[in-house]
Structure formats: C-alpha cells, structure tokens
Amino acid sequence: MPTDAIPAVADGFLTLEGVRYRFPGDPADTVAGVDWAVPRGAIHCLLGRSGCGKTTLLKLAAGLLAPDAGAVRIAGAILHGPSPRVGFVFQAPTLLDWLSALDNVLLPVSLRRRPTAADRAAARDLLAAMGLGDLLERRPAALSGGQQSRVALARALIGAPDLLLLDEPFAALDALTREELQDDLLRLCASRGTAALFVTHDIAEAVTLGDRVGVMAAGRLVHEAAVPLPRPRPAGIRYEPVFGAACRALRQIMDGPAPSVGRAA
C-alpha cells in the first residue's frame, strides 16, 4: 500500500489511521481500514453510494463510535469520545422543537454553562451571517427546510470548532437552496479557518466544496484526488467546463470496478 497516497497524514488536524469498524452481528466490516487526514483549515469530501460506510466513518471521526482497530486523532491526540473542538452537522437538522432558532444555536453553550451576553451576540451574528437575522425567535416548525439546516450549521459553529463533520446535511434540500448553503458553508469555514470533512453522495457537491475528494466503496477508500479548482471558488464555477470535467472524472471512478484496483492516487 503506497503510503505517499496520503501526503497529509503528517500535518493532519484530523487523522484516521487504519480505522476499522464492524457493527455487532454484521458479517463484514462497515469501515474496513481507512487512512485519511484533514489538515487545519482544509475542506475534504467523502463521496460514496448509500451504504458504503461513509456515515459510519464520520461517526468514528466524531468519537460517536469507537474503532475496532486503528486510531482517530485530533491534533495528534487519540480521540476517546466526542470533542468540544469538533462540530457535527447531522443528516436531519435535529433542532429542538420547543426552542427558538437562537436558543437552538446556543444549545451547545447552554449545556456547559449559562450563556452570556457575548454568547448571545455570537449566536445572533452567526444567524445574521446566514440571512436569518430576522427569524431569531422563530421555532423550528415555523422555519423552512433550508432555514432549519442553516440553524443546525450555526449550532455546530457556535463553539468555534477547529473541525466540522458534516453528514449529507443538505441532501434533503432543493437544488437552489443546497447551492446557497454550500456557499454559506464555504464562506464561514474560510473566514473562521475551520476544517471540514463533508460526507455526500452528490458528486457536484463534493467538487464544489472539497479541496480533496475521497471516494469510498464497501468500507474502503478506493480513490482520492485534489480538486483542480481555485479557492475561493469563483461565482458561477458550477457551470464552467473544468467543473464538469472534475465531476465526470469522479463519476468514472465511482462506476469503475473500483475495489479490485485498490487505491489510486
């Protein structure tokens, strides 16, 4: 196995080293030995079909699951459980129905201590940065799907984490809203220097967001490559030929007889 395929391991903020996981009672490993590293401030995407193990890998990275073998490290230290330096955005917004948008964003803070005026101001700024400045007191039921996803994103960012883990957070949204949220995410991560590991089954989403994209199949990483697009992404990049070419290349890898080929750098 060519170790130079993962040049970022040495300086990674989040590193996965030979991580394996099998659900109790399953015949095969759901995550079958994955090495990966996300450096500080970088955005990496994991692409794969449903059931390829990418969500499980993300939960291992979050410390929500403990690997059977291998290690997950955050800033060099082995992770033993969820870390306050890591924010997680789930597939569903998972907002608390009985709290306002503002209080939902403040939830991570209020579980540790009584929120201060500064915390409230930070939450207000985050929501305002996502265009929800007028909806602070709305309950989730009175928000659209896109607005709920924005509140969930703001909640993950309120503790100023070094790393965001995102599990197909925009998959249920319409195409236009999804693009707006992708742009919001890129802008917020860039301005705060937040690294991100973004799991998706949408090739265009992976190309839009990622500095690097890894392709997963059957619990293994079958391919990884840098995305040949400038950062920050220019407006309208989604309609450029170079964007389409990058998508097509990934699509061919996902279609190919990947697992037998092994990892291609």
């Binding site: 929500l64 597939q91 579980l111 039921a141 009175a142």
Partner: protein, 249 residues
Amino acid sequence: MRTRLASALLLAGLLAAWEAWCRSGAVSPLVLPAPSAVADTLWGEIATGRLWPHLRVTVTEMALGLLAGTVLGLGAGILLAEWPALHRVLRPYVLASQLVPKLALGPLLILWFGFGLTPTVVITALICFFPLLENTLTGLEQVDPGKRELFRMLGASRGQTLLRLKLPSALPVILAGFRVAIVLALVGAVVGEFVGGRQGLGASIIAAQSVMDSSLIVALFVVITAVGTVVYEAARGLETLILRRYARG
C-alpha cells in the same frame, strides 16, 4: 357554535321525553325518577348544604390519589426508561399489579388502613399509576435517535439529556396519559368509596341505595359527571398551556 346548539337541543329533547315517559305513569318513580324530581333533589342537597362535605371528600380523595399516582407513575416511568435492565426485570410485576382488579384490593386495604379516606386514595393512586407509567415509558423511548446522538456529540450528561431532551420531547405523550389518569381518578375515588367510604359521593350513592332513593342516586350522577367535566377541561387547558411552551410551533 351550531354543533353546540344541536347538542343542547338534543339534551333538551331527551330530558323532555324522559319527563313525559315518567309522567305517563308507565314506570315507577322508584325505578326511574323524573328529571324534575332529580332536579328538586339536587337543589335540596345544594340548598341544605348536605352535598358539600361529600363533594369535598371525593375531590380530596381524587386529588390526593391523582397526585400520588402521577408522581409514582412518572417517577417509575423515568426510572424504567433510564435503566432498561430494570425494566426487563420489573415488567411482569408491573403488568401483574395492573391486572389485579384494584377494587378487589378494597377489603384488604380497609384491613390495613381502616375505613375512610386512605383506602380510597390508595385505590385511586393505583389506578392513576398505570397510564402515567405507560405513557412516560413510551414517550421517553420514542425520542428521536438523531437528537440523542446530538446530545452525545455535545457532551451532555445523562441528567441533562433527560431534563433537556427526553422529558420535553415526551411531554405531549405524558400529558395524554395524565388526561386519562384524571378521568380514572374520579372513577377510582367514587368506586373506592363503594367499598370502604363513610363519606363522599360514592358513599352517598350506597347510602341512597339502602333507602331506595333513586332520585338522589341520579342527582349524585349529575354531580359526579359535572366534577369530571370540570376537571377534564381544566386538564386540557393546562395541557394546551404547557404544550404551547414545549410542543412544535
């Protein structure tokens, strides 16, 4: 509004038919008293003040039984939901305790506590216990796994997860159980008095039966129904108030 009018008209019609039937002499007033006789009796009970001590006793039994049953049912529900192993061990006993007809416990409870308030309160509490327990358990176990994972990710303690996620999420289901319990509490208090009461609306029914005063029995039905309606509506109002704070929207 139209449906309320229709309901009222239906009631008036039924009462008129009942009154007419009784006045026709086809049925003995001992078997079925006329509505006018019932109204007279009821008014007499109210005017002489004979009704109030009984009403007070029954409402007290109901309130104490409901309180004890709710606290115990809610507490046991939380305990069993938080410790599933305990739940598996105790499940058959909880079920058995509910399958025992609680009125059949009456004579035993009278042996233990004597006649009066206590055995009825105990019966009422036992009856109210089960809907609270079942609904608390169901509500706490139905909490969205995604939100539990969120709380784990945020490093929430077990107590925080219970107080700030599970109980608020389960509140609509728990309150529905409370609404069932409140109706059962009245039944428990009245029927409990049949067995061991000296005072109260149920005990008054037994006393009226012994002197064959059927119009007093029906008058007491009216009072019991009125108490039930008031308490049920109060519970609904409380529920709406709490859910406005906690439910979606």
